[in-house]
């Protein structure tokens, strides 16, 4: 088990469609750790710490909201330009899809 690797990873993978609905794959879940006061992704035989930026994205992955809806929500919550948020979320989710933490 590691507490060092942040799940966010740059990726050169394909763009995810805005209408796609991301979800955690079976065996992976986001969890708040009350003892350490941080967010982490539980995975088979390890756990990743989600830094605050990653956690704000992952908290919105509920298997119901589309990628576009998640990006809209982040842009409005953080009052940030949508294209910058979209690029960050795309890069992070394609990294997690390669690791099979997230699927669409």
């Amino acid at each position: 088990m590691t507490d060092s690797a942040a799940p966010a990873a740059a990726s050169t993978g394909q763009m995810i469609e805005g209408s796609a609905i991301p979800r955690f794959t079976r065996g992976h879940r986001l969890q708040h750790d009350k003892v350490r006061n941080l967010w982490l992704v539980q995975a088979p035989e390890k756990a990743f710490v989600a830094d605050p930026v990653a956690a704000s994205v992952l908290q919105r992955i509920d298997g119901a909201r589309s990628l576009d809806a998640i990006i809209d929500d982040l842009a409005s919550t953080y009052d940030a330009p949508r294209p910058a948020i979209a690029a960050d979320v795309q890069a992070m989710l394609s990294g997690l899809m390669a690791k099979k933490v997230i699927a669409i």
Binding site: M1, G27, V35
Partner: protein, 366 residues
């Protein structure tokens, strides 16, 4: 002036719950101690429920249900359901030989997150020579199918040694065919039963090098589609493994009889009391017991560890191996090329091999 407060001890991440030492298999490298706990000494269901509550409160994130064969305990689904309810990630470490559809359904319905299923070999004859249970291989293959058909995440575990190390490529292929997302290829660790059988199990240098080549080739072939974990045999390394990632840093082990240990082999260490959950809380044991503080951090270290720039990487290696091979658990792990006792490891690499195995069993007299 007040006393200097002791620095806060980081909470544990991981609990290995050894529910029982009973097992239908008799693998000669079993990680259980040579002197095993009997059924009459095992913790009750209520005891285990309390352990899980205390572990979650303390900061444990993942509970690994192990043994012996944990499926020999009829309360396993109840314990898993409780761990799930407390937010623990649940992992079942099993041989699979007691799995059937009814039992698997009960575990799945309890919320089990992941199964680590052990195989002794890809060939039935080799597997059943090691496990010493006729018919086991077919039961394991059936268990893998139940798990994969359900879609539950699964890791296949193979312990490798002189007799089966040549079949690593087929082991990895089997994991992929059975639908596992991960496979562990773990060289035998030479403590307890494994140490008793070292002359039969320790691979040659050439076999070790081939195993590294085979794992690298499989990783290139499977890419992201299969995660391959490889545990090297430390007798052939120049620096020791960071055993348990440091004593009392992340990991705690509860034995069937309720003793709490920093590693599953720690009961070999003389001159220290092994704290028991029947008498103390998990938190008190983790933070304050003599056992957990014995080799915690770096202050206990002798040279060459004390001044080594790898002291917080290797953590001095394995205490139980230092004890088994040098007679003193405080010594640097003799696997380290800097250890004054490194010769014992060099000699073991060259020792005469034997095909005779001593199978795991309960001793008749304790």
């Amino acid at each position: 002036m007040n006393a200097v407060p002791s620095p806060r001890i980081p909470p544990p991440m991981s609990l290995l719950a050894e529910l029982t030492h009973r097992c239908p298999l008799a693998c000669p490298y079993c990680s259980n101690p040579v002197a095993m706990d009997r059924k009459s000494e095992e913790l009750s269901t209520a005891d285990w429920l309390r352990v899980l509550d205390e572990a979650a409160d303390l900061g444990v994130l993942q509970a690994h249900f192990s043994g012996g064969e944990p499926m020999a305990r009829p309360d396993l689904p109840e314990l898993i359901a409780h761990a799930v309810q407390r937010g623990l990630y649940t992992n079942l470490i099993t041989s699979g030989v007691l799995m059937d559809e009814r039992r698997f359904t009960a575990l799945r319905d309890a919320g089990l997150d992941h199964v680590q299923l052990s195989f002794q070999d890809v060939e039935t004859a080799g597997a059943e020579r090691i496990g010493h249970l006729p018919g086991a291989q077919a039961k394991k293959l059936a268990a893998a199918k139940l798990i994969a058909d359900d879609g539950m995440p699964m890791t296949l575990n193979f312990v490798v040694h002189r007799e089966n190390v040549v079949r690593i490529p087929q082991m990895i292929d089997l994991a992929a065919q059975l639908g596992a997302g991960r496979v562990e290829i773990a060289h035998t660790q030479y403590y307890g039963w494994g140490l008793r059988n070292r002359a039969a199990l320790l691979p040659s240098r050439a076999q070790l090098e081939q195993s590294e080549v085979d794992v690298a080739a499989a990783r290139a072939r499977y890419g992201d589609s299969l995660a391959i974990d490889f545990v090297t045999p430390d007798y052939h390394l120049e620096r020791p493994k960071p055993c348990m990632d440091g004593w009392g840093r992340r990991f705690l082990n509860v034995t069937p009889a309720g003793r709490v240990l920093p590693c599953h082999a720690a009961e070999t260490i003389p001159g220290v009391e092994f704290p028991n959950l029947r008498e103390q809380s998990l938190g008190a044991i983790w933070n304050d017991s003599a056992l957990f503080n014995l080799f915690r951090g770096t202050a206990w270290m002798p040279e060459p560890c004390a001044s080594c720039d790898r002291r917080e990487i290797d953590w001095g290696g394995c205490r139980c191996q230092a004890l088994a091979l040098t007679g003193n658990a405080r010594n640097t792990d003799p696997v380290c090329g800097l250890s004054p006792f490194h010769d014992v490891v060099l000699e073991a690499r060259e020792e005469e091999r034997t095909p005779e195995l001593i199978f795991r069993q309960f001793e008749t007299v304790r």
